[in-house]
Symmetry: C2
Subunit: 271 residues, 2 copies
Amino acid sequence: MFRIGEFSKMSKTTAKTLRYYDEIGLLKPEETDQFTGYRIYTTDQLVQLHRIQELRQIGLSINEIRVILSGRDYEPVLQKRKAELISMLVEGQSQLSRIEFILQGEKDMNYFATIKELPGCIVYSKKIIIPNYDAAKQEVYFGIIPKIGESIAKQYPVLKCATPSYCFITYPDGEHKDKDVVIEFCEAVDKLYPDFDDIVFKEVKPCTIVSIIHKGAYSDLAKAYAYACKWIDENGYVIADSPRENYIDGIWNKESETDWLTEVQMPVIKK
Amino acid sequence: MFRIGEFSKMSKTTAKTLRYYDEIGLLKPEETDQFTGYRIYTTDQLVQLHRIQELRQIGLSINEIRVILSGRDYEPVLQKRKAELISMLVEGQSQLSRIEFILQGEKDMNYFATIKELPGCIVYSKKIIIPNYDAAKQEVYFGIIPKIGESIAKQYPVLKCATPSYCFITYPDGEHKDKDVVIEFCEAVDKLYPDFDDIVFKEVKPCTIVSIIHKGAYSDLAKAYAYACKWIDENGYVIADSPRENYIDGIWNKESETDWLTEVQMPVIKK
DNA sequence: TCTACGGCTTCCAGTAAGGGGAGAGTCAAC
DNA sequence: GTTGACTCTCCCCTTACTGGAAGCCGTAGA
């Protein structure tokens, strides 16, 4: 027969924890004095608590422990915890890798990579051939894209673009070409409509991406791509699809090139 | 200029989280409408949030992120997180190993291993030679130990044993012998006293142990030892010192052998 | 017998990072 | 004018406890 202080020393458990376990019904003292409220423990509770400690030490929650102590089969509980633990370890490794990556990078690097889940959406798309990468973008965003918008609006007056607007281009060719690059312009809309002219409506599947935000002129976008590729390579991912350039701020709403904002979205999967 | 719903879609962050970040001052919207309370975000906040997401994804707490965003050097913060992560991974591996150990064991095994930190203490100790392991224990606990108690009480009437009492034996020889085994009886007391006869006072250092509770006759204690050794071996520990048998319930307070309770304490260190 | 002190009690608050939901106000479309 | 979608604030809930305050209990010393 031990009072809580003694029992806590024997079991290497704080009195606070013992009171808590009493309160939640995980481990009741042998008896509680009716007048003083003093909890009285015996070695029976010591044995039970030992079991509880074992299960806590392997990371089970108190409710999981309850299930096990109730006499049901412990195997499913342990299997679940094992799966949890494995995914925790994978996640931890990945975080570690990302920290190393940052620590080894230059200190004033201005790119930051995040992982995001993109939901699926429906887009209209149009392929455009441009003579080379950088020079033509100005023309595309200023000239071609607004025209596409107009012709869409004329064809389908009820069509609505997604809010917030999601418009991007990809390079469907996959491999790099220096001249006559094919780019595909996409904008998310409310639903599928029949194709017309060379505008194609299609579904874009949800995917996991690495997102890098680039602030500044398009001529520097290559740096963001380089950073993204390095990040993906060194953090155990592989590119799963052609990257998207998501235009957030640009010539249409910001005068100065230095304010332009573009998100490079690289679809990836874990290696 | 985006309201919270739009902004949450753009940033893949829930509105709840955005309100929370506003509340705690981590990310304030560009402005809050004075009359409606509506939060208005801009792409500036999108960039900031992107950074916050990066740092959250590597597991930093919000306060750590605050430190980094305040412009101070991020390296110490990341180093700290890295160390944290490594110890988490080690702990996780160890839990995983323990779960595997349980899953691979027999289903109705009655031993449970816990890791505990034993505080240091002061004990008096006496070495006794017994002819063999099991047969003599009865005699030791019933005959010799009470006599030690008496002679201690006579020599030092003010001496106080620890509460709760902590008394154990060890096998200081280390290696196994079949005959004329040396056992050392120890009991924790309040402080050092001068040695007398063959009773030696000494300090016992704090240590980490694997604790196994054995219920039943001493003749079965070997099973507990076997379990402990297997556990230690398969979970990445090594034995660091001679094990202790801590007597909790025994002939002195329980009639039936089946009620006796003994804790096997194996000092260990992580490999 | 009085008192001091340590041990025990209950109750309340707080942790990290939000999630869930109620009740009420706002906005744009029909 | 009304509906439905959106937003606001406020409050409670999560885990496994820890810390502290106010008050009762038990024992040892003067």
